[in-house]
């Protein structure tokens, strides 16, 4: 308990130092709580996520990392028993305000899931469907956009000749890159990634990590990962979550260098060193 009380000071210090410059941040999250029915999953998380950088969310299983990620694009709405309080600001807009244009918010915030979750359609149809839904009808524009995103994720040469074959016939790594292409085709500003490499082999993982490094100049990336070595390789910023009496709490946040080399909290130190 004492250990966790100290996290307040660690997080407050950080919040004070960064709150003055809100334009640097893509997300400003304030006192976020998430409940499923009567169970509180995340308690009082305040965190600012800088633009055009990679922020890793790390922590043990069951500490609410994925639930936290789902709060950022209101994917929590899919669960009727879910209740969120607090504020998640993207720019000046609170994602949880009643007047928010949810379609626009979700278009701005793309998401990549733990397992590749392509639709059971062709590669082409998987990429065309979201575009058409968002009003892109010109066939030539669609073709160019599809080619462009497939080139961006390094998949064009591999699938060029079989764009109309089932997407589910691709390998796991290719499927995950296609999911990334599907996310990028809507030109989001943010990409949320929920353990995107956990179901992939080391070679595919390396490709995804290389893509993350390429993309971070143009996108804000928030990634949940269990792999501390991966977090060290790709992160600019890190937020460390912990499970305290069944509730997910934010223990410490900061630059990757500070969290991995000079953690202020004992729990953070113990966790990051356990993966060394």
């Amino acid at each position: 308990m004492e250990l966790l009380d100290r996290r307040e000071n660690v997080c407050e210090m950080h919040a004070e130092s960064v709150f003055n410059d809100s334009s640097r941040f893509m997300f400003c999250i304030d006192k976020l709580c998430l409940c499923y029915g009567n169970n509180m999953i995340i308690e009082n998380v305040s965190l600012n996520i800088p633009k055009n950088s990679v922020t890793s969310i790390i922590g043990p299983s069951g500490c609410g990392k994925t639930s936290f990620l789902c709060c950022l694009n209101r994917l929590t709405d899919l669960n009727e028993s879910c209740c969120v309080t607090g504020e998640v600001k993207v720019g000046d807009e609170n994602v949880y305000s009643s007047s928010v244009n949810l379609t626009e918010v979700r278009r701005k915030i793309g998401m990549l899931f733990q397992k590749p979750n392509l639709f059971p359609f062709s590669i082409w149809r998987n990429l065309e469907l979201p575009l058409k839904h968002h009003g892109v009808r010109d066939k030539e524009v669609i073709r160019l956009k599809i080619q462009n995103v497939l080139q961006n994720v390094g998949l064009w040469e591999e699938v060029e000749s079989r764009l109309h074959t089932p997407a589910l016939s691709l390998s796991g790594g290719q499927q995950q890159r296609l999911c990334l292409a599907r996310t990028l085709i809507l030109e989001p500003e943010v990409i949320l990634m929920d353990e995107p490499c956990s179901a992939l082999d080391p070679m595919s993982t390396k490709k995804i990590e290389e893509l993350i490094m390429e993309l971070k100049g143009n996108y804000t990336i928030v990634i949940v990962t269990h792999n501390i070595a991966q977090a060290k390789r790709i992160s600019d910023h890190v937020a460390f979550f912990w499970n305290h009496e069944g509730k997910g709490v934010l223990v410490e946040q900061g630059t990757a260098d500070k969290i991995f080399n000079y953690p202020k909290h004992e729990l953070t130190a113990a966790y990051v060193n356990s993966g060394a």
Binding site: L75, F113, N117, S122, R125
Partner: protein, 289 residues
């Protein structure tokens, strides 16, 4: 364990294996034999009656002679009316129950129990209901419309149940990813969820057609059994299954044409099933382009 004990134990495993294989194969063979027997009997006795005239002429002498054209037309109209109401309503109810209501809400539970109860009601009761409601209360009289609507009520629970099973088989990951792609719930349903649930929906359609084509009791009370060519949906007409029943049970010397009609009924069922599977595959394949 001694070598002999091991051998004995293995021996008993082999005996059990052999027994299980025997039971499984016996079950399989019995089912196939019954199917072949029924089909063979209808084929052998019915094929001699089948001719172009049989399919294109009206029945004569209470069905002992002539053909079955009006019966085929009436059957087609009744099944079409039945599916035109039951399919959209069934799929819509399934979508509502699976996608819009809380799974454990009282309302959803009530509807689910109602569907199971409706599925268990004997068809004769549906016939009486159709007779009272469609024939008398709504004033449709003995008509193809009454018959089709009564059958629609009867097959609805099967269509709903099969469609719900199809929708349940669609992984939640599709719902999550379409939501994350900023697709509206209706777009996600029409472009992702329902096309993915197509096998279940087709199963519902096939079940519906199968039951509608095979039904006699419910139609006796509602669409009637006059064997003339119907002049419209408000006219009375005889369905193929009623024709088979009537020739086999009430008309002496009508056995040959009863077999012929049963043969046509089975062929129609096979053709419609094949068409439904073909169209379903085509819809799914179109998504692959």
């Amino acid at each position: 364990m001694s070598e002999q004990a091991v051998r004995l134990e293995r021996g008993s495993h082999y005996d059990l294996d052999n027994l299980a294989t025997f039971i499984a194969w016996s079950g399989f063979i019995v089912v196939v034999l019954i199917f072949v027997w029924i089909l063979g009997e209808i084929l052998v006795n019915g094929i001699s009656v089948i001719s172009w005239e049989f399919l294109t002429e009206s029945p004569g002498n209470a069905g002992r002679s002539g053909g079955i054209l009006p019966i085929l037309v009436s059957t087609g109209v009744i099944v079409f009316i039945c599916l035109a109401f039951a399919l959209p309503m069934g799929v819509a109810t399934a979508v509502y129950l699976n996608e819009y209501t809380l799974k454990d809400s009282r309302f959803a539970k009530f509807i689910n129990i109602s569907i199971d109860v409706l599925a268990a009601i004997p068809s004769i009761i549906y016939g009486l209901f159709g007779f009272v409601f469609f024939n008398n209360v709504l004033g449709f009289g003995f008509s193809l419309l009454s018959g089709g609507l009564t059958l629609a009520c009867m097959v609805l629970p099967f269509v709903i149940r099969a469609s719900i099973d199809g929708l349940k088989a669609v992984p939640d990951a599709y719902r999550e990813s379409s939501t994350a792609l900023a697709m509206s719930k209706s777009a996600s349903l029409f472009y992702v969820i329902i096309p993915s649930a197509m096998p279940g929906i087709i199963a519902g359609f096939l079940l519906g057609i199968g039951r509608a084509l095979a039904e006699t009791a419910a139609l006796l009370f509602t669409s009637g059994y006059v064997d003339r060519m119907p002049s419209g949906v408000m006219d009375s007409g005889r369905a193929l299954s009623i024709h088979v029943y009537d020739l086999a049970m009430n008309v002496s010397g009508g056995d040959a044409n009863a077999y012929g009609s049963a043969f046509v009924l089975i062929v129609v069922l096979l053709v419609v099933n094949s068409m439904a599977i073909y169209i379903g595959n085509k819809i799914q394949r179109r998504q692959l382009r």
